[in-house]
Symmetry: D2
Subunit: 361 residues, 4 copies
């Protein structure tokens, strides 16, 4: 069952209804970070804006952004906080073209996809059959390794276990990872494992809690803070094991967003959450597949800033999002927010990663 890219069916702009739509209206920003009244908020779906009588597809979209029309006629999706005085922001809250904005949420739904869309709508739980989801994911990842951009969003649990950590490293080393979005904890626990074979003082293989083992966590942070970057630290300490070292070796970018739970933090961790969003979005807006493991916070953050489609060489293709967590509540959070392309899998991410690795590597 080789991966088959779903075909995108664009709107029929020759239809009278769409031909007669007015141009979309844009209004200037008069106070920084504040959109004009009646602004249009973007969805994750392909949206077309009528500009000078031409329907133009928005690119690099996200959920709940606003669309700025630049002087050169290009559109850019911005977060509210990035709006500058003078920006021209599109207004309009209909999606049928009657205000010059047409949201096309069904472009990938024809053929076989129909049945699937239907099945998707039913809840995902521990009792859902996941065999086909795994089979599809295996094929998808092989395809994306060659043609796509795979972004992984990792919770700390990924490195609490010896085998899942090795599986993640192996996926990095074999080309299945284009970027990692995570937090201070993931990197800290990973480096603790590399230096001490523990995470929060507990052996990541034998589960033994070591005497004074909780100092491992603090010592890793304290040692690393002597360096200006994780790359320097990894080099200085000759760290070989783990996700951070694998990323450094392979040149895979990691965005480490700070959080109020952090100790330390490690060097390179971004303190300002909106700077973190900017850094994450650099990757999410190129993503063709996103895999979120065991982190509700980072998964939802990424989901919000990732569109349901990408335009690659002029062709519109879907972005696939996988959300894996042992809790139905967590995986369904992402779905509830309207991202229909999300495949939720309810399981322990340790097994998920080992499964993927055993099949792909």
């Amino acid at each position: 069952m080789k991966f088959k890219m779903p075909i995108f069916q664009g709107p029929d702009f020759s239809a009278a209804a769409l031909q007669n739509c007015p141009d979309a209206v844009s209004v200037r920003v008069t106070r920084a970070h504040v959109a004009p009244q009646y602004f249009h908020a973007t969805t994750i779906f392909p949206e077309y804006y009528k500009i000078n009588g031409q329907w133009t597809l928005l690119q690099k979209s996200r959920m709940d952004g606003v669309v700025v029309l630049h002087e050169d006629g290009q559109m850019e999706v911005k977060e509210f906080r990035r709006l500058a005085v003078g920006d021209r922001v599109f207004t309009g809250r209909t999606e049928d073209g009657s205000e010059g904005i047409f949201v096309h949420s069904t472009g990938f739904s024809q053929g076989e996809a129909d049945a699937e869309t239907f099945a998707f709508r039913t809840g995902r739980s521990r009792e859902t059959s996941y065999s086909r989801d795994y089979d599809r994911l295996y094929e998808l990842l092989k395809y994306e390794k060659e043609h796509g951009h795979i972004v992984w969003v990792l919770g700390p649990a990924v490195v609490f276990d010896s085998d899942s950590k090795k599986a993640m490293v192996s996926l990095i080393e074999n080309g299945y990872v284009d970027a990692i979005l995570a937090g201070n904890a993931l990197a800290t626990h990973d480096l603790e494992g590399a230096l001490f074979q523990t995470a929060l003082g507990q052996d990541i293989y034998t589960q033994e809690s070591l005497a004074n083992g909780h100092y491992h966590h603090l010592d890793v942070l304290n040692l690393a803070r002597e360096y200006d970057s994780l790359t320097d630290f990894v080099a200085a300490k000759n760290v070989q094991d783990g996700v951070v070292a694998a990323c450094v070796r392979s040149g895979i970018p990691m965005v480490l967003a700070g959080s109020i739970r952090d100790d330390g933090p490690l060097p390179e961790v971004i303190a300002d959450v909106y700077e973190s969003q900017n850094a994450m979005r650099l990757h999410s807006k190129q993503a063709t597949t996103v895999i979120c493991l065991a982190t509700q916070l980072h998964s939802i953050a990424t989901g919000n800033m990732t569109p349901a489609y990408q335009v690659i060489d002029g062709v519109v293709r879907p972005v696939f999002i996988y959300s894996v967590d042992v809790s139905e509540f967590a995986v369904n959070k992402l779905k509830d927010r309207g991202s229909l392309e999300v495949t939720s899998i309810v399981t322990n991410i340790q097994d998920f990663l080992v499964n993927i690795q055993r099949k792909l590597v």
Copy 2:
């Protein structure tokens, strides 16, 4: 890391304290199904009874049974409901020998086991490192295939998914299953999958819900009820796929306990829950390893009736229990009841089964 059987260290009966203990006292039952006052209730641990000045190890024990002393000097653990008028039941509620009953709960705890016992005591959650537990289980199952008696306790989720169902069948066919304890639902969904490729009307691979698919469930039950046994049904319909057919082919016994949720039920399902307990206990009392997947009801029922040890060729060895469920609450239920030998794994049993099969078969 080959499996190494823990060595049992019996109590030191030469110690003065134990030498001076009185014989255990037994009292006659005067009303059926009712134990004498001050009865002793069994634990899952090795218990020694002083009879005619001799400390004798209780065998085939269980939790919360009572011990009947037969005329021939043999002891038998009975459930209260099985007590008959005239049975001699041991009394005493101390465990240190002072009433002739000595409970020895630490027989397997020396050496390496100590560290492990300690780690065991910490909670098990989605964030526990399970790599070593898997590695040990692989080795244990290889050992038990040759020397032990492996009882599987299965919830219906095992057969909701195509790959986990195949994994279970493969384990049966390759000698890793000595008995299956389950309910009407497991067998019904399994047979529906074999006949219609669905479970409760939903395709177990594609997840598609079929039109009028819920009739599959009822039709399977109705068809099967024309036969006196599942063996006859499987033969008549030439059922090849699934757990029931594999058990029939391989001569593996299945106990199917009825429940108030049942439709049907299928032939062979036991209507009386206490008859079900009796049938389950026939297997649990021979078990050397028990693996419970995604069923709180059957897991706890089995856990209650399974001792922590077996005597094989005169040697006392532990019974290993694995409890696998996606919910911490469910897996910890079993632990809370005092079964220290339980290894809990928090994950989706689909992945658990696929993991096991890929390693062992």
Copy 3:
């Protein structure tokens, strides 16, 4: 906001489509407990059968039963296992009348209900707003106390806590309970609380675990087994506290279904699960409101056998089902099975009961 009974809108049988439907076809049973091929399985919704040219409403329905037409023209819904040779069973698997069977699932959906139905369809979780559900339930219970039949389905957690136990007793004593469906554990823990102030040896107020406290559980069972009924036991031991005693005092029927987890069991516990189903259905088929607390097994069992409507004095009214559990998975189980009238509340049932009691009593 006083309770307002939703108005039932029957089908328009004067419509040509329904007028031209044929009579429903019935076929004789030739083997006990086996329905004829192409049997019709009942839904929980109002179903009309065309008999001698007349559309007749099925009463006392349930999910997945079959409909037997008696000689006197009366219809009866039977479980498969109750079918006798010679029974005439309706066949047909369409629901639009074309085979003489018309399923009317939208009778209560007009007016305000529409919006509500829509909201119902979204998932219920810990983050759903439950204020209105509570307000409606308070009013509903006041109404049902006078006019309805309120069946409670109780998991053991109801009596693990001192305040929730008192709340339940208070609801019994104040007329808000017409029947209780539960298992051996509920009654055993309740009586242990009454006699020892513990449940499984743990104080139900202070949470202290008492030395040898686990014997309380076994002692209660053993003491009770000296009597033929719970009524006798309660009288003999002068039990005043708890749910069992309150039911005995108030003459409220309790159905105690046995399960494979049972110790004991207590007198009156039904050993045969299908006998239990029969006993439960006696109550569920009269129920106008059902409240299920913290028991997945009994809740689903009851949900399966409870119709979505009752006919009271010739008027069709809905049956309201509340399903309360701390787990989304558990409460949604009931919903997934097609019972649209279910209101799920995700919370600890201790708080739920205390809330209800403080408002009503």
Copy 4:
């Protein structure tokens, strides 16, 4: 059962073992934000440092901080990131005084507390009896209203429901709240409720999803961003309802920590997570009772920075932490981190708040 403050029993410094201990050793920081090797990390328990032969109690402690000895002989607990070159940091990794540091974790454990401590250690789950915890909390809050400092840590679910929101407002207005720690989402949903009666577009009483209701969320943020503070916004829009308005009216400080999930954000939300930690710690270090509702991120963050004791007028008293969430995993996270004074309650925080309010207000 009026609240009775547990009596603190300090260490017996007259014991020879403690008298003979050396002074604690401090070492200068040579690189900013990096502690000297072998630094001592604080626990949440009372710790005594031997300085010039005198045992001195550390105050305003936290978990995993380091202790800086100022020139004036005062000690200050600092986070690593706040260390400056030249700071003198205590070293030593023993807790028994042998390096001049004595950790006294059992000061509140005498008398009745012993039994309680024991019970505490068993797991908390949906089946734990919470009646006494509620009773104690009622009395504690009455006491703390007069004598203590009550810090609430709120997840967004608090304002998703009409009644729980009203309950929270009522607690603020009646003096039971001294500070609120939360995120952008809590405040945004709260203000959306005040302006539109919705949260994320869904009515917080009727649960109805409004057409284009998701714009409510964005409009609130956009409207608020026209103002420099929430106080200005609340005044300008004359906001009366909800938690934010109640805090503004009552002068209760709110710390709103930014997160990578944020839209907007609102004015006053702190972008830098370590600035957020500083702002939160200003409150946590004065707290005598902390109540954490439905937020794992903020609860753990707060738990980490809150000591298990306060010194009030020279007397050492415990800090009480309550952690309330519908998920065992979430409430137990806080416990696992070593905070023994934590009382976990597994329930929906809507019911928790309504319970508290009905009893106290």
